[in-house]
Symmetry: C4
Subunit: 339 residues, 4 copies
Amino acid sequence: MTLKEVRDIARGKMKGVCNICRECNGVWCRGMVPGMGGAGDGSTMQRNYDKLREIRIMMKTLHNAKNPEMKYEFLGKILESPMIVAPITGLNYNAGGGVSEEEYIDDIVNGSIESGTIAMIGDGGNPDFYRWGLEALKEVGGNGIAIIKPRENHEIIKRIKMAEEVGALAVGIDIDGAGLITMAQMGQPVGPKTLEELKELVASTKLPFILKGILSVEEAKIAMEAGVAGIVVSNHGGRVFNGTISSVEVLSEIKEVVGDKMVVIADGGVREGMDILKFLALGADSVLIGRPIIWGSVGGRREGVKLTLKTLNTQLYQGMILSGVNDLSEINKGIIFKG
Amino acid sequence: MTLKEVRDIARGKMKGVCNICRECNGVWCRGMVPGMGGAGDGSTMQRNYDKLREIRIMMKTLHNAKNPEMKYEFLGKILESPMIVAPITGLNYNAGGGVSEEEYIDDIVNGSIESGTIAMIGDGGNPDFYRWGLEALKEVGGNGIAIIKPRENHEIIKRIKMAEEVGALAVGIDIDGAGLITMAQMGQPVGPKTLEELKELVASTKLPFILKGILSVEEAKIAMEAGVAGIVVSNHGGRVFNGTISSVEVLSEIKEVVGDKMVVIADGGVREGMDILKFLALGADSVLIGRPIIWGSVGGRREGVKLTLKTLNTQLYQGMILSGVNDLSEINKGIIFKG
Amino acid sequence: MTLKEVRDIARGKMKGVCNICRECNGVWCRGMVPGMGGAGDGSTMQRNYDKLREIRIMMKTLHNAKNPEMKYEFLGKILESPMIVAPITGLNYNAGGGVSEEEYIDDIVNGSIESGTIAMIGDGGNPDFYRWGLEALKEVGGNGIAIIKPRENHEIIKRIKMAEEVGALAVGIDIDGAGLITMAQMGQPVGPKTLEELKELVASTKLPFILKGILSVEEAKIAMEAGVAGIVVSNHGGRVFNGTISSVEVLSEIKEVVGDKMVVIADGGVREGMDILKFLALGADSVLIGRPIIWGSVGGRREGVKLTLKTLNTQLYQGMILSGVNDLSEINKGIIFKG
Amino acid sequence: MTLKEVRDIARGKMKGVCNICRECNGVWCRGMVPGMGGAGDGSTMQRNYDKLREIRIMMKTLHNAKNPEMKYEFLGKILESPMIVAPITGLNYNAGGGVSEEEYIDDIVNGSIESGTIAMIGDGGNPDFYRWGLEALKEVGGNGIAIIKPRENHEIIKRIKMAEEVGALAVGIDIDGAGLITMAQMGQPVGPKTLEELKELVASTKLPFILKGILSVEEAKIAMEAGVAGIVVSNHGGRVFNGTISSVEVLSEIKEVVGDKMVVIADGGVREGMDILKFLALGADSVLIGRPIIWGSVGGRREGVKLTLKTLNTQLYQGMILSGVNDLSEINKGIIFKG
């Protein structure tokens, strides 16, 4: 099975929902929420793609980086490379039903581990989603991260305890889901968090706490003050707040302020290995992979997920050779073209 | 009935006139006047969309704005939120005939009031349009605003008196219609106004006077000097003067000069709640909604109008949460991304 | 007959050659030479459109310019407005054969005079073209301008004499045809001119001499030194030199240097009245109209040409009202938006 | 046979692989590797086109450059004009199989010589490619250049000796192939080179050594230090490293540093004569022609290649007339538009 075959199958199963465009730029699917597109007219998702595309890496071929090292240490674990599978739920109404929610969870939790990395499992309006995610994590000794919607604190803490019970590596919330008033309408209110509320969450567990959905220096500082272990610089793939900026527009400024005090993960538009190189050059320690993993799962189930991750790894490896870096520590702003 | 259903029906009824594009950017309908498009090659209407899209709002999720207040005080009335229905006439030749002029007037006057806001009724080459608008206002106790074409002053004053008789909240002219020489050809000349002429209009009534179609600081100052109650920063949806700028390009400069001495309304490209947030961040006190209301009326009559307004309200509410503002007074330039 | 009808007929007759796009931006027809498109990949023709589009006019409606004067004095004649019909030949192989060369010449020479303006007649590889043009001018008492290809000087002077004989108002060359090596292959070499050669041409006649195809300040100065009566700032509609700039990019700088010492005509992308306003605001005394005249002739013969000119006049009139200018002398840089 | 006919035939034979777009901008074929497109989402290949398009040449028509000289001295040979045929292999899997590898080699080696220039022959995963190229060179007395993949040094040196035996004019490597891990998987590892390794290659032969695939000033300096005879500023047509810059973005800076110490060839997006003029204006001594040669060979075999080169020559000649340069030495930055 080749990646092309996996994607061809996926394209068939996602017909009308996702076209798996060669330029996956948010144009074809604009406004498709539910579906695979960006919120509103899709401008935020399109901006993720456009701004990432503007970043250009200098090609270097006269050096000795012939076999670069990609290993990545994350919360004490050594991953194969600096990529982690993103938390995604609602496959049924968003991805055309080609895989069920449980199949998808199974694919990403196991596919990522078998590829030398880990997955984040997510939460949603349907409380089964989170439960199924934890069940899958349990079967792999908790080898993954549980990301909870920004519910009321006592609801989050309840779910953190559940994650502790299955031995999850870390927990967190995707705070960019704060505006999902549909969840409130289902009796499960979500919302923004104050510093105090955030501190309470961090203090409620001994697990590292990840705050996903930070998009400004100010809020990165609040996250640091609250004591989180890491942040994900992200706009939720442009799917929750049309009209905001892309993560690459603030990433490097955030990294400058944060330094090594927190892990800085980023996402938003990673489709190929070069995109990972760009995010790392801008200051991310690692990236989340979303959309390509969905294609892999829908088109080839666990094998499709693994093939996707393997391809991204190979592309990143090639990118490191062609930009002349020997390991992740050498990937920095210096490899970016200064127009 | 969902908004999607309303728009699907409208798309059918407006076939060939309006495609209700997911990116309603003036490309599909360019040049369609009569019709729904921008004048000439449509560049002004497209610019409205593009320039609004360039404005990006910072996402904020770590704060306490969990239930923002949207109430808006306008000329002594409290509206549900800072949006007002725009004056639009000529539905028959512009919108494909899916609703008649009288049906449309009925939909917007009543649909807006039932949604906690008000509508502006318009004027046109067919004198019935204005008369029907006033009749509709009369039935709701005058709860709306009458906007008159920039006819000769005595003709305007005659129509102001008619508006006073039905108890309209305010009157005004859409001065950007000054170049409609087709009206002159129908024996109803329109044209620009001097400061003196404007003063005469303002002095002719005790009702607040609204000047719609201002697009420069200079003219905002003239409007102030003439004593108008408010202006609408607008290029008439790009439908009267191809080649000019969009309202968002001058809005913030105008607001700086005008301060709180006049109400500053703005329009031009509002399609979703985030657009309202952007206009307010740039300095508008409130916005006019045009095109989405037409879709609502054609696709679902009064219910469609209400559903449209409700959706915009919800989106604005979400946007306020995700940008961390507690009420309208907190929406300012500070929430805009500074590239 | 309406302009829309004329264009619909023309679109049919020009099928495969010109689509008469609502955005006539050089994309559909790119590379179609022969045909109606830009040379090479069409980038120069597209740039004409794009750069003109970037220029934006401030809308003004609070003033007294209620009935602006459009009359234009050109070489001692009073024209209805500041537009002249461009010299175009080769209708048969460029415009799909919907009108013959002779029909086109008849349409533009007479259609322009009946509209209160004049036409330029052109020259080409087929020597009949120029001869037919002069014959048509002769029948209207020479009321027009003869533009000759940049042949060898003695060939040009021979043709200048022919123009004098029919009483042409002025003569000139389209020097931007200097690279047409197909003409050399037909035994009619063309090429660039030195200052001395240009002086010889100017000295050879008492008629005003027009130099068409200037695109830099340096060459505008050479033209002045040679004593020409006027220049046309032009890149030949992007049809002779792919990769160069558009006239609007140098027009205002040229005008500053030239002042009132020569007439400055410009062309390149005029499709509607606002485009004329833009060219004049940048410093042109008048503009040449090309493509819309072809559509008019193909779709409605002489009446189509007149309808086209009348529509452009009306649009320019509206534009002058909406930018607040009372006559041509008031159209200047001050009406352009300063981003 | 006209060039249009050649391309129409080629378009038919390349159906699904290359559309021979009028704007050959990397959009239609994005991601088609194997195939004719750019790597990844095709952004580098698209950037080659876009950045070249941004460069604009000033049009000049008042001068004496009536018959410019195009002759170009390259490594002691006089070529008809400053263009050389690029090394391309893998026609079968990249170009749709319309010509075989051997046919293509025959077409370019002989077609270029018969047009007064030379070709570079290439190397690939299939060792026959290089061997066939040398055989073709042998038949023309070695009149061409052998470009080898960046294999291990001893493998390169072995192939340099082979090139010496057929009397090649020069040898070199396309170092931008350093990331082709598919070659490593076929037991033929390639990779970047250190300065020392490069020096060893240069020292291994008396033939001039060409280093193809330089994209920064730093690496141009390393190439100089290693003593190469020339470099090709190139990103391999955007086909090996998605996310990097185009050659025109660094060419002029490289030329400033390199001066006349090395030959500076460049490529990336040459489709017509004006593109060559632009590259030379930016500092290249000559350019490589790739894609148009493929179209010529597939559509018209050797005659198609010759017709392609002849057309490019003519266009460059026209461009030199219209920019007012008498010979190659006069083509410099001064002819570029300064926005």
